[in-house]
């Protein structure tokens, strides 16, 4: 199976390092960006299967990035995972308008991220067959 591509966007290098290491070990091809602008530049030449983004970033923030990415690439199918602190419940509102987007609570559980990505990217072969047939 072709390795799935994940784009991680965060301005905290330690978060990027932990996630990159975790996901590369699981066989994902990981690209990273430090803010929304850099992420959009990368997405111009590269279609990730999953976009993982922080919200609060210098430069373009996660809110704008997610909206822009969805609007700019309506035909690409990719999952968006937004990282937010457990206390920032009000962040839950703006994402309702976007499709295929979920929350990850910070501090992130790398384990849960791996499990979530596996469900999204590697649904049991049977399911994939059905998907292709459909």
């Amino acid at each position: 199976m072709k390795p799935r591509k994940v784009l991680i966007v965060d301005d905290e290098p330690h978060v990027i390092r932990v996630l990159r290491l975790t996901l590369e070990r699981e066989g994902y091809r990981v690209e990273t960006a430090n803010d929304g602008n850099e992420a959009l530049e990368k997405m111009a030449g590269y279609a990730p299967d999953v976009l993982i983004s922080d919200i609060q970033m210098d430069g373009m923030d996660g809110r704008t990035l997610c909206r822009t990415a969805r609007r700019r690439y309506p035909l690409r199918s990719f999952l968006i995972l937004v990282m937010t602190s457990m206390t920032a419940m009000d962040e839950r509102d703006w994402v309702r308008e976007l499709s295929d987007i979920e929350f990850l609570e910070k501090p992130l559980s790398p384990r849960q991220l791996v499990a979530r990505l596996a469900r999204y990217c590697f649904a049991p072969p049977g399911d994939l067959e059905i998907d292709h047939a459909g």
Partner: protein
């Protein structure tokens, strides 16, 4: 794994380094420990292919010492230096030179430069390994923090009586991507489990029985975390025999005795349980255990409160056998009214204790008055009128019942202000007291006394309706009427007498339904 060690190093700068120091544009390649090229300097060059050919023809990367090595092939000479780190060879830096039988002077500089390049690569690799190790460590800390935050959030959001343990286990099973999570604490009579099945477990009940039984006993004697991943693990002779699952079992120790275990169970297809799983397990096991201890103490305190109240009530009711069960009945009916009025939790709690203990002051009434089977004289009635104030005087010693006291103290006040002890009227009478008054009136009418038999539910209802606005709060009477329309369960429970309902009325009710 060593072959992947060089994968995330960018060698371009080492290529530049070599070129600048030697002043020669050598074709350079870096090979991993197996001798396979991982990087080369001249994109169009055939150095990697040439190296592979050499290896195919028996070249074995022989090294004497750490310095530059020389291998003369038919068409050219390979100069190479091993990249040595503490754990062994990471690979080789190689340069191809013209075949020559002598040692050109330029090779001295080249040898020194290759050594420097190797040392640089070793240092960079060490730094990257260290960073990765730190990232791993950080990753585990994230995991722990995530778990701790999740526990904290759930504990804070828990509702009284909600199944906290089950929801904690459920979220833990999800977080750990485990099929089953269970917590067993025999001392607190606690055995909770939650599932997050990746595929069905047909004998789940057996698995749970095994945890409560043999696994707990095993943990109890070993007092160590138990991790069993392999199917061939010899401990399977004692635990999880014929149950082909991976298990992680974390004991909770209290004074060297195992008081509880936390267990995770996985299908064999899942990854092995790791050390970090074990650490997280211990963290949660300790949290659950102290929560359970807290719950135990809370339950104990509640039981103590109820038993103290029961003793007090027993003391009152012992004085007058005819009032046996009165407090309990008034309490039950008052709580029904309070519930129907959707009182807030704190008010319901006050009503709970106020209604249960409203007559405690009767302890102060002489038996001759309390049990007199005839009409009371004015003086005797004065004794009776003192009892709500006595209830207050007795209960005020208990801080916990501060909110409950007004209900008990004023349950004999009348809505029109003609009651006792303070002659309060209307909404000046505390709400709980007005509720208790309705329940109290109902029970006095329907239960038997020394001087008369108890009357029917219907008679009581008529009497209460009649007193609405004079003795009783009409708003609460209205709530009581609504409850009575639902044929409340207490009619059976307290064996309340009924009057034969007129067929017409019955039909009317049926039509009303």
């Amino acid at each position: 794994m060593p072959d992947k060690a060089l994968a995330d190093i960018d060698f371009t700068k080492y290529g530049r380094w070599l070129r600048r120091l030697t002043g020669t544009d050598y074709e350079m390649a870096v090979c991993n420990a197996s001798g396979a090229p991982v990087w080369h300097s001249h994109a169009a060059g055939d150095l990697p292919a040439w190296l592979q050919q050499l290896v195919a023809h028996g070249f074995r990367w022989h090294c004497s010492g750490d310095g530059m090595q020389r291998h003369d092939a038919d068409d050219a000479t390979l100069l190479y230096a091993p990249i040595h780190c503490q754990t062994g060879a990471l690979g080789f830096v190689t340069v191809r030179a013209e075949g020559t039988s002598t040692v050109p002077a330029a090779w001295d500089t080249l040898a020194e430069t290759l050594e420097d390049v190797c040392a640089g690569i070793v240092a960079e690799h060490a730094m990257k390994s260290e960073l990765n190790a730190m990232a791993d460590e950080l990753s585990e800390r994230y995991e722990e923090l995530h778990l701790v935050y999740a526990i904290d959030r759930q504990v804070r959001a828990m509702k009284p009586g909600g199944d906290l343990f089950e929801s904690l286990l459920k979220s833990w099973a999800v977080q750990m991507n485990a099929d089953v999570a269970a917590f067993v604490k025999p001392g607190d009579n606690l055995c909770v489990s939650a599932t997050n099945l990746s595929s069905p477990i047909h004998n789940l009940d057996l698995v749970l029985v095994e945890m409560r039984g043999d696994l707990f006993r095993f943990a109890n004697s070993s007092r160590q975390p138990i991790v069993i991943n392999e199917l061939a693990d010899p401990r399977r002779a004692y635990i999880f025999t014929d149950l082909p699952f991976k298990i992680l079992c974390c004991p909770v120790l209290d004074e060297k005795a195992v008081v509880a275990i936390l267990v995770l169970v996985n299908h064999v297809t899942k990854p092995d349980f790791t050390n970090s799983d074990r650490k997280l397990g211990e963290l949660l096991a300790n949290q659950l255990s102290s929560l359970s201890r807290m719950y135990g103490m809370l339950a104990e305190t509640n039981t103590f409160n109820e038993q103290m109240a029961a003793s007090l009530i027993e003391a009152v009711e012992a004085k007058d056998p005819y009032t046996r069960g009165h407090s309990e009945r008034v309490h039950h009916i008052a709580m029904q009214i309070g519930g129907a009025m959707k009182l807030p939790a704190q008010e319901l709690d006050n009503l709970f204790w106020g209604s249960l203990l409203h007559d405690v002051g009767k302890i102060g009434i002489p038996d001759a008055v309390l049990c007199k089977p005839a009409r009371l004289t004015r003086d005797e009635f004065t004794f009776i009128m003192v009892h709500p104030e006595r209830s207050y005087e007795i209960l005020r010693h208990i801080d916990r019942l501060k909110g409950a006291m007004p209900g008990a103290r004023h349950h004999q006040e009348k809505f029109d202000g003609s009651g006792y002890p303070h002659g309060l009227a209307g909404n000046d009478i505390p709400l709980n007291a007005r509720i208790i008054a309705v329940a109290d009136t109902y029970d006095s009418i329907t239960s038997s006394r020394a001087y008369r038999a108890g009357r029917s539910h219907e008679a009581a209802l008529l009497e209460i309706e009649r007193c609405a606005g004079t003795q009783l709060d009409p708003a609460i009477v209205a709530v009581f009427r609504e409850i009575c329309l639902t044929e409340p369960e207490w009619l059976q429970r307290f064996s309340i007498q009924r009057e034969a309902v007129a067929p017409a009325a019955q039909q009317q009710r049926a039509a009303g339904d």
